[in-house]
């Protein structure tokens, strides 16, 4: 079977699955009521985090186990900005702050808060990326270092109580106010949904650009890409920063949807979960990241009620099964599934050789 014909089949199937997901998400609030709608809005913010993991891991082959760091930083900066725009937050007062530190002044302007919630994690990721992805560190060590960074971030946020609320986190965060006043639950839901759709379109565009092809080449055979003249580290750092910015936007929306943040949002657990959503859904095709995130979070809602902590074990079991039986994830398997002409799968079938 020709590469192009296969690509077309995959394209059609993916478009079909996307349409189903979009229809479900768009109509969900009609049937679900305010509480559940708000819960799904939170998950839609996590979908953007999953997409950011797919850019990095699925497209480029860089497995970060610290993607919650830019997510959490985005969430915290959004939370602080929201709180300080209304005066000195209660948690700061508790720790004896009577006047807002100068460094926090810019955050009192909401638009600046939004810009910094993206720019700060992106800048930090640029620094980490330059150190981590310039060639000396390889493979699993990249993952381990990103994981260590996530740990440091959690500890730091826990300890900087005066500014972050410590282990209590920050509450009392209002919903986004793109038109001057805070959105309703439903308004926010569609706001986050629109952001997720835009994030998907953005990732899709990158994937279909020539840049996306180069990222795929780096993932498949980094060495070959180097010897045809690509400065691979530039590409890796670029996608690392873009992915961090996307994760930060996700974090910002998450904080303003849930109304509170705690140190866990920067931690290893969330980082790992995001990778699991993508692994289960299937990496490299975006739809897998979306579906994996929605399905596992949905199942958690449903199952945590009677499974309790055993849910975590169930996730581990699901992950193992998928890794063994569907290495391309559920969506990857669906996209590649070919019921007809099994003989065509034989090696060299239909090739010009």
């Amino acid at each position: 079977m020709g590469g192009i014909k296969k690509a077309r089949l995959i394209f059609t199937r993916r478009a079909g699955i996307n349409a189903l997901i979009l229809a479900f998400v768009a109509l969900y609030p009609v049937a679900a009521g305010a509480y559940r709608t708000d819960v799904l809005a939170k998950t839609l913010a996590l979908v953007i985090l999953a997409l950011s993991v797919d850019l990095l891991w699925g497209y480029t082959g860089i497995l970060s186990l610290g993607q919650a760091v830019p997510f959490g930083l985005g969430a915290y900066i959004a939370a602080i900005s929201d709180n300080v725009s209304r005066g000195i937050p209660d948690y700061m007062v508790t720790y004896g702050i009577t006047q807002l530190p100068a460094a926090f002044m810019p955050l009192t302007v909401p638009a600046v808060g939004v810009a910094l919630a993206v720019a700060v994690p992106a800048a930090l990721s640029y620094l980490i990326g330059r150190l981590l992805l310039s060639g000396r560190v390889r493979g699993v060590f990249v993952s381990l270092i990103t994981m260590a960074v996530a740990n440091v971030a959690t500890v730091y946020i826990n300890n900087a109580q005066k500014f972050t609320g410590g282990s209590n986190g920050i509450g009392d965060i209002t919903r986004p106010a793109p038109f001057g006043h805070a959105l309703s639950i439903y308004g926010n839901y569609y706001f986050v949904m629109a952001a997720a759709v835009l994030a998907y379109a953005f990732c899709y565009y990158i994937g279909s650009s020539r840049l996306g092809r180069v990222l795929g080449a780096i993932r498949a055979n980094e060495n070959r890409a180097v010897f045809i003249g690509y400065r691979v580290s530039d590409y890796k750092v670029f996608i690392y920063v873009v992915s961090a910015a996307l994760a930060a936007i996700a974090g910002m929306l998450y904080a303003r949807t849930t109304g509170m943040v705690s140190p866990a949002v920067t931690g290893i657990r969330l980082s790992t979960l995001a990778v699991i959503w993508v692994a289960v859904g299937g990496r490299g095709n975006l739809t897998g990241a979306v579906a994996g995130c929605l399905a596992l979070n949905g199942m958690e809602r449903f199952a945590a009620g009677f499974l309790g902590d055993a849910w975590e074990l169930a996730v581990g079991a699901i992950l193992l099964l998928i890794v063994f039986f569907m290495p391309d994830g559920v969506i990857g398997a669906v996209l590649r599934f070919r019921p007809l002409r099994p003989a065509a799968r034989a090696k060299g079938g239909g090739a010009g050789g």
């Binding site: 092809r213 080449a217 070959r224 060299g348 050789g353």
Partner: protein, 247 residues
Amino acid sequence: MDDKALLELVNVSVDFRGFRAVDGVSMSVKAGEIRTIIGPNGAGKSTLIDLITAKTKLRYGRIFFQGRDITNRSPDSIARIYGIGRKFQGPNVFGDMTVEENLALALSGSRGVLRNLLRSESEDARGAIDGILDTIELAGARREMVSSLSHGEKQWVEIGMVLAQDAKLIILDEPTTGMTADETYKTGEMIRAMSGDRTVIVTEHDMDFVRQVAQTVTVMNQGKILAEGGFEEISANPEVIRVYLKE
């Protein structure tokens, strides 16, 4: 230093934990020539290519390209800035991509991140790719996955990638392994066609192939250059016969 040399190696050596894989090699390749490097397995041919293309760091000696010192530049700048393209021993291609995509990736043009972000795949010069597909005789397989091709065809895809790079110096490490006699002959003709405006260095085992393409032959043995000259001269050299041709 030879003024007309495109590539000049001066006393180049490298050790692997005390084992000297390339030992004091000096060599000069003229613009437009086809240089064949032969020698028994383990003679250091591939390692020499690794040194030229900066895959392996040089310990001693210097390498000049068009009169500029390129010793220990990064491998991507050797390819991008100086225009030295390389085919690895055993095909080294992107198996999960189509033939056309492999060529498009290698196609000369901007290697910058932002330029590539704003450029769509289809804007690539189709003409250039069509021409290369004809040269490597794979026009009918342009949309096949490279992993589904035969070994010999993969070799051609990789030769096509080096052509797409528009390299001034093309280095081919054993390009005909796994090829039928017919394919080997075709490959020889490809190489003859690509020389002229380009310079080609090719390592090889098959002496018929060497006879077909060679202008100057360099014979390596145990990391050193054993002899250098025309094909007839080399095949009559008693020492070359002893270490290589008779084996």
